[in-house]
Structure formats: structure tokens, C-alpha cells
Symmetry: C2
Subunit: 442 residues, 2 copies
Amino acid sequence: MIDQPGAPLRHRVVVVGGGFGGHAAVIGLAKAEVDVTLVDQRNHHIFQPLLYQAATASLAPSEIAWPLRHILRHQKNATTRLDTVIGVDVPAREVRLESGARLPYDTLVLATGARHAYFGHDEWEPFAPGLKTIEDATEIRGRILLAFEKAELASDPAERAAWLTFVVVGGGPTGVELAGTIAEMARDTLPAEFRFIETSRARVILAEAGPRILQGYDADLSAYAARSLETLGAEVILDSPVTHCDAEGVRLADRHLPARTVIWAAGVRASPAAGWLGVEADRAGRIAVAADLTVPGHPDIFAVGDTVTLSDSDGTPVPGIAPAAKQEGHYVAGLIKARLAGEPAPPPFRYRHAGSLAQIGRRSAIADFGRIKLRGAIAWWLWGIVHIYFLIGLPSRLRVALNWFWIHTRDLRLARLITGDPHEAIERARAETPEVEKRDAA
Amino acid sequence: MIDQPGAPLRHRVVVVGGGFGGHAAVIGLAKAEVDVTLVDQRNHHIFQPLLYQAATASLAPSEIAWPLRHILRHQKNATTRLDTVIGVDVPAREVRLESGARLPYDTLVLATGARHAYFGHDEWEPFAPGLKTIEDATEIRGRILLAFEKAELASDPAERAAWLTFVVVGGGPTGVELAGTIAEMARDTLPAEFRFIETSRARVILAEAGPRILQGYDADLSAYAARSLETLGAEVILDSPVTHCDAEGVRLADRHLPARTVIWAAGVRASPAAGWLGVEADRAGRIAVAADLTVPGHPDIFAVGDTVTLSDSDGTPVPGIAPAAKQEGHYVAGLIKARLAGEPAPPPFRYRHAGSLAQIGRRSAIADFGRIKLRGAIAWWLWGIVHIYFLIGLPSRLRVALNWFWIHTRDLRLARLITGDPHEAIERARAETPEVEKRDAA
């Protein structure tokens, strides 16, 4: 076995989190005279923008996720560590790990991301899972597919209708993409396969608390997206925040929707990184970093991506999307290199918005590049090319392109496996609810 | 919603199990004037001969498993039901389902398969999972990958060595294929990715209770396979039945092997179908069916595949492999059709052995066709072509072929995701072991 090198210690950078921000920081340091350690609690990097396709059986999980070790294998100054960070010992400059080990750092980069948030109602989570991990995607995929199976077996019409009602909460890009894909699956992929139900009659509801979906987009494009969703057979319900959620369905502002499948795409909450440092966080748990992405009061600790809240010099908030996290990670790498070289500090971080893209079903999309706005088939092609371009490696690009080809030409969605027990979380929540509450709820 | 048809009832065939045998029976009845219901507790058909590739990160689960509904979508007389059979009410001619429903049948086909068996030591299962389902494959994949991660983090040399020791129990085709692939992964795929361990020094041990591996093959081919495995870096240990198995490793006849990853490929036990009928079964739980594959005393109940034990007219036992199950399912469909047409019964079932193929690493295989025996690269090509041919659908064939291309040319194994907690079963078993026993074992 190889021992750790006995050479004089180089500057040690510890990066926590191998998502877009952390990965960009690590590869940005590839040629620097530093030792980089990337710590992640999972062994893989996920291409988040296509995670909804894994949740809807369009792509296999391994087509949008790659082992971190694999994508960093040629970067000799980088070490990958599968472990969970439980805290930071700031005075000692050490990251504390669940395994008991401590990782000393000279510079620390926190790129720990976010989980979905339930606005103070964490008890809704078992009934309305969100989509951040491969496990989330597999569970949601299982729930969607199982709902059609249960509907096929149901003899009671109300029960059958509840199994055939899918509610996606949150009208951002992920919510739109999920609702569009479920509607398409029900209308195009599944009808020939069932004998007792008409899957095309499934209700797919996109519930948005605000006055329109895709609020980050131009109003025209967002209206176009709503119309397109309705053409696909989905219903868009606006101005309707969720007020309750359980195994029977959801309550929107003024109505109860009996639904056995609810997916949460409504809000996120940053990881507990702020707590590790004992610094202030906003309501969503995000650290308000300085313009050079350092944590206030900690010049050697950077934070990027969904861990932070940040505004441009003109006051526009930097959006919580993959390109922003990548730019931030890249910026931090550059700043670390400048510091080590004794060069003057680079100018403050400035987010360059390349544009926004969202798919609406398998033949349409919207693209918002500020002055240039596209929609329909042309936007879809652009969306497809851009997403394939950003995948890692030729094999993944070919596999995803091939899958999309079959989806387009033959309505095939091949990753339709129900594995494990997708309702396990619901069963567990039920078992933990005291009998009294159950009776009250009934 | 569509109601069940009110037309006069046709002959009802219920097939339990959508593996090779059950699937062949269903499609064999495609043009018959019958109503077929296929019941399976999972929504997918698995291509078992390549399941070990899903367990070793070479293929994605959805590349070797297809939704049963999808593969039967064009067969109008077939209905698929996702449910678990809990019994058969023979006098009433009904299959009892976990959902509470009962399925009436005129003819019943039991194709319920087998699980792995621990020779009376079911307590070994958490420490030495077997490979029959997609969940099994995902768990084994997670354990193999996690073992390298844990070894990379381990500071104690003995602990590190135990994480880098992989024991595959059982020298049949699955055991050989698993051991060969793990050895290759350790030697070719992973070395560049780790910093503190040399993955190529991992010990991969194939432990066989009998005097040689691949006992179903010609002795020369089996000796060749053993040599090939050793060239790949695996160790073959013969005449060594497992006598104990726990979280620390396995005890073979005369020695204890400290190993944190043990995979069971040693024995199978048929599903409880015999119990449902109250008929006799052999030690492995298999029903001794008549030469026309009916269950003795039950002329309207057939059993096929791993559910049965059967010998050819010359006394040779029919092997428990995919082609045998397919031939049996096909035979049963033909017999049912002959009965309905009032034709004379077809001659007794006769198994036609087409040949045996086993892969040994990604560049070699053995093929035993009786008089013709092949080995090495030529056998590997044959193995690859045959397996791709038997996959369902062009998309799967292309995806698998592409993956094998990358594995061959670039040592890429892309499905290397650790998901869930692969050691959950071990933790559970530990939690359930009384403290006294733990002390005794220590």
C-alpha cells in the first residue's frame, strides 16, 4: 500500500461537496501547487438539470451521474474522500468527519448544496418527496410507476382516481419539466400497456403558489409554457400555495386534491454549513458571502452554489442554478491561485447569465437569452444540444442522445423499473403517527 | 375507465412469475383463444444471465430489465398484474393475492423461480447476499464499490486488507463471472482513481465446495477457466465449503478469511409454490413435475423453470438455466393450445441443450457445445453476440453493445453508483444479535 507522501506539505485546500460548484473549484485548481481533498457523502457527481429525467424513467441514473473519483482520476493533486462532514473546527483549521477523522485545511471551500424545504412542514416530506439525489429520483420514479399499477388493480373508482392524480408542487423549471414528462408518459408511453385503465385520463397538476409559472423567465415565455403544458394534458393551478399534505393528497389554498402521488419542487433549504461555522444565515439557511465569495470574518473559507446568497453589484440576486455554481467554483479556484502567487486579488465575482432553458415535454422548450427568446421545436433542439454538451464524457453523451432518440421516435422510456418499496417513507410516517392524530385526520 | 369485458368467458390461464419460463408461456399463448393473466411481484422481467454485470457496475439495471407490461403490450389477450401470490385455493381454482383479490383460473402455470439458499444457514444472508433481483444487484454493486472507498480511508492495515478482500462463494457460472469481473475492475478500472491504496492488490477469491469450478462444463474448459481467473488476478480455492459467515468474513473448511465483502453464488432454493399446492418437494423446494410438466395430481397446474425438478428420459436432470425455463414455458403453452383444440397431447417435454457459455473477464469466455468446445477470444465474441441477441429490443441491444465497447477499449465501467446504504442488512443483523452472542463470536 502507498503511504501518504512524506514530501513537504503544500497548501491544503479542502472542498466539501462534489456538485457543480465544488467540482468546478477542484478542476480549477488542477495546475496549482496545492493538495486538494474533495469530501462528499456520495461517491458521485450528479448532473442536476437532468435529474427529473431519471425520476421519470427517461434516463438511467448512471447516465446522469458519474463517480467523482472517475472524473478526477487524471488530476494528480486531487484526492477524493467518501465521508460526511459533521462540523468545522475553525480555530484548529480542521474539517470534522463522521468517520472520526479530521481533515486539516489551509483554505476551505464549502459547496454543500441544498435540500428541498417544506416551509416549516417537514412532516410533509414522506408524502411529497423532493428531487435532489439519485435515491430521490429512484423513489419518485417508483411512485409514479406504482401509481399506475395500483390504479389498474383498484376496483373503487375514487381510489382509482386518486392513484391517477399526480400533483407537482412548484412551478419552477423542475416542476414544469416533471409535470410535462409525467403527462406525456401517461398519454404516449403507457396507454397500450394497461387493460383496465385509460392512463391518458390521468390528471397531472402543476400547483404554483404565485401568479405564474417559471417566474425567472419572460412573461410571454412563461405563458407559452403554461399553454404547452395544457396541450400535453397537464393542468396548471396558480395562486395556490399548499396548506396541507398527507397520504391522501394535498390541500391547495381553497381545495383538497385527492392524490396518491405528490412531488415537491417548491423550495430549497441550504445545507447546515452556516451552523458549522457559527455564522449568520438567511431564512433559507444560506450564508451571505462577501463579493469575493469568502465567508464574512473567515478570509480562508469560501462558500459557493446553493450554500450561499449573493447579489450582483446592481442588486440582482445570483440564481441558484448550475451555471452560477460553476462560475463561483471557478472564481474561487482563481482567487486561491492568485493568493498563492502573491498576485493582487481579482475583481469581485460577477455572475454572467448565459440564458435560461427549460424543456416542456419531449418536443418543445423555452429559451430566454435576454434579447433573444425562443420557444417550441427550435428551443427544444437547442435545449437538447446544450444539455448533451454539458454531460461528462462521450459515452454518456451517446447514451443520453440514443435514449432521447427512442423517446422521440417510439415513445420508449426504458428505465421503468420499480425497485425497493417506493412507499416505504409513507408507511414509516404512518406507523409513527399516534392513533389519535390518525383518527383526527380521518 | 374501461370495465372488464362482459363477453362470454374464455379459458383463463394464470401465469405466476414473469421470468424466462413464465414469459415464454405467455407469449406462446399469444394467438390462442384464451385470457392470460401474468402475475408478478415485480414490474419487470430480468435478463438473469447478465445480472452479474449490473452487480459489477458494467451495465445499468435498466439495460437488462424491462417492464413486463412493455414487453407484452401488443399481446391483446394478456393482462399484467403487479401483485404477490400468497397461496392457491385448489378446490376453488383461484390464486390468492396479497392485495386480497383472488384470480380464478382454468389453467395455472407456476413459474415462480428460486432464491439463493444458505444450506440451513439463513443467518448468513446479510453478510453474503445472493444475486437474483435488481435490488440484490444494486446492493452488491454498492458493497463492492464501498469496500474500495473504506479501504482508501482505513488507517489500520488489517482493516484495509479486509476491505480489499472479496470472496465469491460458489464456482458456477455466476460465481466465475462475478469473481472475474471484480478482479478486472480492481486491476484495470480503478487503479488510477485511488491515492492511498493499490486497488490492483485486492484479493478476489472464488471459493468452491467441490473439486472444480464450472462442474457443468467439460473438465478441460473448467481447468482453462480456473487458469484464466488466476491470470486476471483472482484466486480459486477448491474443496472448501463455507462453514461460517459473519460481518468479519468467511470460514472455509480449514481457514478463516477476513473479508468485508462476500457474495453468495452457491445454491438456490425454489419459491414456496409447492407449499401453495400442498404437494411434495425435493430438498431444494422443487416440485417433481410429470413429463408433461403438470404437477402430479393436478392436471390443470403446470410448473416450469427453477420451480421444478425434472429429468430427461435418459435420466439427465434438466439444468436450472434460462434456455431450459424458456423451452418449458413454450412447451406448456403448446400443450394448453392442443388441449383447447381437442388435439392429442404432444409428446413429453424434451430438453434440447444448445450449449453452455460463460464469460471469464472481458476478453475471454468458454463455450461448451458438446462436441465443439471453444475458449478464449473466439468464445468471448460468441458469448457477446449470443447475449446481445437474446436481449429484448434494439435499444437495449445497442446500449449494451456500446457499454461493452467502452469497457473493452477504455476500461470504463460507468454505472459505478453507490446508492442507499449497501450495508443496511448487516447493520440490521448486528442490531438483532443478542449481546451475548456477539461476545461469544468475538
